[in-house]
C-alpha cells in the first residue's frame, strides 16, 4: 500500500493549484480520478510524476507505467524502434518484447512497425502509448484519459486489459471523463473540484441511493461543496 499526500502543489510557489490531497493506493484496484475541466486532475498526476514545479507533501511511488493525456513520441523513431528502446531499458527484455508485440497485434498496429508514429492518426498514436505503458509489468500505472481517440474495439480491448492487470494485483489510477465506463470498472473514486479532493470512496459508499449513477453523484457532491462554501 502507498499513501499519496499532496499538501499543496502548483506551477509557482505562492499560488497552489491543488491543496490537501490525500489518498492511498491499494494493490489490485482501479481508482478513478474524476473531476471537471480545471479541477486539478492533471496537476495531481504531474505532482505524482514529479514534473510539477512546486510540490509540498509526500509522494513516493514505485516504478510505474504512464499513459499521458497527449501522446509523447519521438519524431525520428519508428514504432518498432520505440518498442526496441523500451525493451532495452527494461529488466526483462524478452518478456517485454513479446508482450509489446502481443499488444501491437491486439491494437491492430502490427502492420505499422516500420512507420513513424508521428505520421499516425490520433487514435493510433494513443495505441502506441498504451503499448509502451503496458508492455512492461509494473505494480502501478497512471493512465490519463486513455480512451480519447480510440475506436470502440480498442476501448473494449483496453478495458479488458485494465481489468486483467487489476486482477493480477496491479494498482491503476485512471483519470477520465468517461464516467459511465469508469463506473463499471473502478473500485474507488477520487472526486476533485477546484484543486481539492471533495469526495473519495467506492461507488456504493458514495451513492445516496442504489443505482445512483456516477455523474449524478458527481453533480451532487459538487453542489454540496458549493452550498457549504456559500453558507
Amino acid at each position: 500500500m502507498h499513501t499519496i499526500y499532496i499538501e499543496e502543489g502548483g506551477y509557482e510557489e505562492k499560488t497552489p493549484v491543488i491543496t490537501d490531497i490525500r489518498f492511498t493506493l491499494q494493490e489490485g484496484e482501479i481508482i478513478g480520478l474524476i473531476g471537471g475541466n480545471g479541477a486539478g486532475k492533471s496537476t495531481t498526476i504531474q505532482a505524482m510524476l514529479g514534473t510539477l514545479p512546486y510540490v509540498k507533501g509526500e509522494v513516493t511511488l514505485p516504478t510505474f507505467g504512464y499513459v499521458p493525456e497527449r501522446p509523447i513520441l519521438y519524431d525520428y523513431y519508428t514504432l518498432a524502434e520505440h518498442i526496441h528502446l523500451l525493451v532495452q531499458c527494461s529488466a526483462q527484455p524478452e518478456t517485454v518484447q513479446k508482450r509489446a508485440y502481443e499488444l501491437a497485434s491486439l491494437f491492430k498496429l502490427d502492420t505499422h512497425f516500420e512507420e513513424y508514429p508521428t505520421t499516425f492518426s490520433k487514435g493510433m498514436q494513443q495505441k502506441v502509448m498504451l503499448i509502451l505503458a503496458f508492455a512492461p509489468r509494473y505494480s502501478f500505472y497512471i493512465v490519463d484519459e486513455p480512451f480519447m481517440g480510440l475506436d470502440p474495439q480498442a476501448i473494449r480491448a483496453l478495458i479488458r486489459l485494465l481489468i486483467e492487470l487489476r486482477d493480477e494485483g496491479a494498482t491503476i489510477l485512471l483519470s477520465t471523463h468517461a464516467l459511465d465506463t469508469a463506473e463499471k470498472m473502478c473500485n474507488r473514486f477520487l472526486c476533485l473540484h477546484n484543486g481539492v479532493l471533495i469526495a473519495q470512496g467506492s461507488l456504493q459508499a458514495l451513492q445516496q441511493h442504489r443505482d445512483e449513477p456516477l455523474l449524478d453523484i458527481f453533480d451532487r457532491v459538487i453542489d454540496e461543496v458549493t452550498y457549504a462554501s456559500i453558507s
Partner: protein
C-alpha cells in the same frame, strides 16, 4: 536624412541581434581561432616577405566581383525594407510613385558606387586604370546589374539558375572592366542599361513588375526566416522540420542489444534522420578540409585540434538535447547508461575524422 540614419541604425541593430542569436560560442571560437591562424599566416608568410601570395594567384576579377556582390547585398539589406515594397504594391496604380522608385534606385546606386570606389582604389595600383573613369564605369555597371537582376528575377523562377546567370553577368562585366578600353565599357554598359530600363518601363506600365516582384521577395524572405530557425538551436523548438516520409528508407533494423547501445543507436539514427544535425556535422567536416591545404603545417594541426573540440562539443550537445526529449519520461533506465552512451558517441563522432585529417596533413608535409 535623420529618418534615414534612424532606419539604418535600427536595421543594423536588428541584424546584429539576429546574428548573435544564430552564432553560438563554439562557432565564434572556431571562426576566431581559424581567423587568427589565417591572419598570422598571411602576415608572416606573405606580406612580411614582400609577397602578395594568394592575391597574385586569384584573379583581380574575383575581388571586383566580390565587391559588387557585397555592394549589392548591402544595398538590398539596407535600403529595401519589405514595407517599402508593400507601400509600392498598394499604390501600384500611381505612376508617380513608380517613377520615384526608379530615381530612388539611382540614388542608391550612387551610394554603392562611392563604397566600391573606396574598395577598388586598392586595385587601381594593380590594374592601372584611372580612378575617376573606373568609378564611372563601376557606377554604370552596378546600376545595370541591379536593373538586370530585377528583370531576371521575374523572368527566371528557379533560384539556382538565377544565381548562375547573375554570377555570369557580374563576371562578364568584371572581364570587360579589366580587358576592354574604358570607352567600350561605357558604351556597352549604357546600351545594356537603356535596353533593360526600356523593358522595365514596359513591365511597369503593363502591371507585370511590382506584383510578381513583391510576391517573389516575400517568398525569399520567408525562406530565409525558415533557414534562420533551422540554424539556431533555441529557435528550433518553435519550428521543427516535420518528417515527410512515412517510414525511413535506410537503417530500419535494430542493431543494439544493451541499454547504452540502444541510446547510441538512438543518437546515430537521429543524426542521420534529422537534417539539421546531419548538415551541421557535415558542415564542420567539409569546411575544414580545404583549409588544411592553405595553412602552414602547424596551422593545420591547430585546426584539427579545433575540429576535434568542435565535434566533441557537437556530439555532447546533441546527446544532452536527446536526453531532454519527452519520450524519456516514459522510460526507466540507469543514469550511468547515458554517460556510457555519451562517451561512446563522442569517441565515434569526434575522433576518426581528425585522425584522418592529421594523417593527410602529415603525408602532405612529408611529400613536400
Amino acid at each position: 536624412m535623420p529618418l534615414f540614419r534612424e532606419r539604418l541604425k535600427r536595421q543594423w541593430h536588428s541584424y546584429k541581434k539576429l546574428f548573435l542569436s544564430v552564432v553560438d560560442i563554439t562557432i565564434a571560437l572556431y571562426v576566431a581561432a581559424f581567423g587568427a591562424a589565417a591572419l598570422y599566416y598571411f602576415i608572416t608568410e606573405t606580406v612580411a616577405n614582400g609577397q602578395y601570395g594568394l592575391i597574385r594567384i586569384i584573379p583581380v576579377a574575383f575581388y571586383i566581383w566580390l565587391a559588387l556582390c557585397v555592394g549589392s547585398s548591402l544595398y538590398i539589406r539596407n535600403f529595401h525594407e519589405p514595407a517599402d515594397r508593400l507601400f509600392t504594391m498598394h499604390h501600384s496604380h500611381f505612376t508617380d510613385v513608380k517613377r520615384q522608385s526608379l530615381y530612388y534606385s539611382l540614388m542608391i546606386n550612387s551610394f554603392i558606387t562611392a563604397l566600391l570606389v573606396a574598395v577598388t582604389s586598392f586595385f587601381t595600383a594593380v590594374v592601372h586604370h584611372e580612378t575617376l573613369w573606373l568609378s564611372a564605369a563601376l557606377f554604370i555597371c552596378v546600376y545595370a546589374l541591379s536593373l538586370s537582376f530585377h528583370i531576371l528575377a521575374l523572368l527566371l523562377q528557379r533560384a539556382w539558375l538565377l544565381l548562375c546567370i547573375r554570377i555570369g553577368i557580374a563576371v562578364g562585366f568584371t572581364y570587360l572592366l579589366l580587358v576592354s578600353p574604358l570607352l567600350s565599357i561605357l558604351v556597352s554598359s549604357l546600351v545594356f542599361v537603356c535596353a533593360f530600363t526600356y523593358y522595365k518601363r514596359i513591365l511597369i506600365r503593363t502591371n507585370r513588375f511590382f506584383t510578381p516582384l513583391l510576391q517573389q521577395e516575400q517568398t525569399f524572405a520567408f525562406r530565409w526566416e525558415r533557414r534562420i530557425f533551422m540554424v539556431n538551436p533555441d529557435l528550433q523548438q518553435y519550428n521543427e522540420a516535420p518528417i515527410n516520409q512515412k517510414k525511413p528508407r535506410v537503417f530500419r533494423k535494430r542493431y543494439s542489444t544493451t541499454v547504452s547501445g540502444a541510446l547510441v543507436e538512438l543518437c546515430f539514427k537521429t543524426l542521420w534522420r534529422r537534417p539539421s544535425y546531419l548538415n551541421t556535422y557535415i558542415r564542420f567536416v567539409i569546411i575544414v578540409f580545404p583549409v588544411l591545404f592553405i595553412l602552414p603545417t602547424w596551422g593545420s594541426y591547430l585546426l584539427i585540434i579545433i575540429l576535434w573540440i568542435g565535434l566533441s562539443h557537437f556530439s555532447e550537445s546533441m546527446m544532452t538535447k536527446l536526453q531532454q526529449e519527452p519520450i524519456f519520461t516514459l522510460l526507466h533506465y540507469d543514469e550511468t547508461m547515458w554517460f556510457q552512451a555519451l562517451t561512446r558517441v563522442r569517441r565515434i563522432l569526434s575522433v576518426p575524422i581528425p585522425i584522418v585529417y592529421a594523417v593527410i596533413v602529415t603525408i602532405s608535409w612529408l611529400i613536400r
